[in-house]
């Protein structure tokens, strides 16, 4: 049977050395690759990127989703982004401040972020003169309905955690973020106890202070 097929194939018409079947498969595959490229046009949510990934267009053009940054992060705060935040974001790195924050590897690598150093494609690349203070990963936002301090419990964990003194207390001892000083490092979010201590709070899985991605300029 295979014998006959072999002979059949040799007399079949070919296109640039390919049988029609091969050509169709290849053209179909190429079309699918172009279609997947179109996925990039589907708007994806902005997410908080590791240092050096703030130029989103440049970042997305280079990230191969190899997970190297997540592997080398000494604080284990880099995670693959969820599919829910957009197909293009899926598996690309984002920051999770549940347990720790980004200090630009101050102790682990002398202030040079290891993720930037290890990124093989320069998707994460810090511009000349970029520092911990002037690189805006995101901006902390307080949810006044879930924040314990806004229920006048006197909680000030975020204020104490902030390395930039970007959070101050108002006249009623409630924290307020100075967006001009905040760099989105996540120290406040990592310190926030609203989810553990505020058992009355339902219908949220977010802490009362949360680093949000900076709105993209149109």
């Amino acid at each position: 049977m295979s014998h006959e097929e072999k002979h059949g194939a040799s007399s079949e018409k070919t296109y640039a050395g390919m049988t029609r079947r091969t050509l169709c498969l290849g053209a179909g595959g190429a079309a699918v690759m172009l279609a997947i490229g179109g996925v990039g046009a589907i708007p994806a949510q902005a997410v908080v990127r590791p240092p050096g990934g703030q130029d989103e267009g440049d970042f997305i053009s280079k990230c191969i989703r190899c997970n190297e940054c997540a592997e080398v992060c000494p604080h284990h705060i880099i995670r693959p982004a969820h599919l829910e935040s957009g197909i293009l974001n899926f598996r690309a790195p984002t920051l999770n401040f549940d347990n720790a924050y980004c200090d630009w590897c101050a102790e682990d690598n002398g202030g040079v972020p290891l993720c930037v150093e290890m990124c093989p494609t320069q998707a994460l690349i810090t511009p000349e003169g970029a520092t911990f203070e002037n690189t805006i990963l995101g901006v902390a936002e307080i949810n006044t309905t879930t924040c314990l301090a806004y229920r006048l419990t006197g909680c000030r964990d975020c204020v104490d955690a902030c390395p930039l003194e970007a959070i101050s207390l108002d006249s009623e001892n409630r924290p307020v973020v100075d967006t001009a000083l905040c760099n989105g490092c996540g120290a406040c979010e990592a310190a926030c106890v609203s989810l553990q201590a505020g058992s009355v709070v339902s219908s949220t899985d977010e802490r009362a202070i949360k680093v949000r991605p900076v709105a993209k300029e149109a």
């Binding site: 049977m1 390919m18 989703r65 599919l83 549940d98």
Partner: protein
């Protein structure tokens, strides 16, 4: 022996990478394998990121050079020994009972045998010469030497990356998705990071490796790169010792080597099968040869296989 090793090694490699990830050791993944900054990037990832960002990335360039050198030396050995895709594609037999599989295999072998032996008997030297010359000019045999569907997919991949500005294939790469599935599962059970992706990633992966049976030989753009660069590969090429080969020494029709070849190379009659650049260095022919005539030497001695002459026009 090689067959078992070729299943074990990709699994061991993946397990090693997973452990390194869990322990935060900077070993990378198959997309970027190495230690800390000394690593080799996937050649397709290197190409597409440079095309997408329209910049020259030093690490990517160096990785490309290393990859080309590796392919020149080893051909498609990555496909045969390290890539997890062929191992995963065995899952397509997961729901077939073992006895059924064996029966199927035997039927196929018997058919192959029948076809092969009649083939061998019919062919005279004159026929062979005719076939060879026909191959040289004729388009139908060019599929063995020039382009096939993989190369179109590769072209589409590069074009798409350049147009849409991101490494498109990375989104669906089965090698990347294998590692991603492991990482997502570790995050799910390790830190309770629940996402739809932990289901979607393995589903895409399974569709690719189970549904598209010919992924490696007909679709994979990485395989396309390797077969293109691998055309210049002259090392570790299956070489036949004519004094031991049953066909040349005793005139017996054998064809065992071509029967066992996964990528349909015919080491005895290279003009009849796939181009030698498809060789995944799996050593199946070496181990199957009843006369122990085939070896894969680092450099073949003067009397080489004719694979090169046939298709290098």
């Amino acid at each position: 022996m090689s067959k078992k090793l070729r299943i074990a090694i990709p699994i061991i490699v993946m397990a090693m990478l997973a452990v390194a990830y869990a322990l935060h050791l900077p070993l990378g993944s198959l997309s970027n394998f190495g230690w800390e900054t000394i690593s080799v990037l996937c050649p397709l990832g290197a190409l597409t990121t440079m095309l997408a960002s329209k910049t020259l990335i030093p690490h990517a360039l160096i990785s490309l050079v290393i990859a080309v050198v590796a392919i020149l030396l080893l051909g498609r050995a990555f496909c045969g020994w390290i890539c997890p895709t062929p191992v995963l594609s065995r899952l397509r037999y997961a729901f077939t009972s073992k006895s059924k599989l064996k029966a199927k295999e035997e039927v196929a072998a018997a058919q192959d045998n029948a076809g092969q032996s009649s083939d061998k008997i019919e062919l005279t030297d004159a026929d062979r010469a005719l076939l060879k010359s026909a191959c040289r000019g004729h388009g139908s045999c060019a599929s063995k030497g020039t382009l096939d569907s993989r190369h179109l997919v590769l072209g589409g991949t590069l074009l798409s990356a350049a147009i849409f500005g991101f490494p498109v294939f990375c989104l669906i790469c089965p090698i990347g998705l294998t590692f991603a599935t492991i990482v997502l599962l570790m995050l799910l059970f390790g830190v309770g990071d629940l996402t739809l992706g932990v289901i979607v990633a393995p589903i895409i992966l399974l569709i690719e490796v189970v549904f598209f049976r010919k992924w490696c030989s007909h679709i994979c753009p990485l395989s396309a790169i390797m077969s293109l660069v691998g055309k210049a590969n002259r090392t570790f090429v299956p070489t036949i010792d004519d004094s031991k080969c049953l066909e040349t020494s005793k005139g017996v029709a054998c064809g065992k080597c071509s029967q066992v070849c996964e990528v349909k190379i015919d080491p005895r009659h290279p003009e009849l099968g796939s181009h030698m650049s498809e060789c995944i260095k799996c050593r199946a022919c070496v181990e199957a040869c009843p006369g122990h005539a085939i070896s894969m030497p680092l450099i073949a001695r003067a009397k080489k296989l004719e694979a090169g002459d046939v298709t290098e026009q």
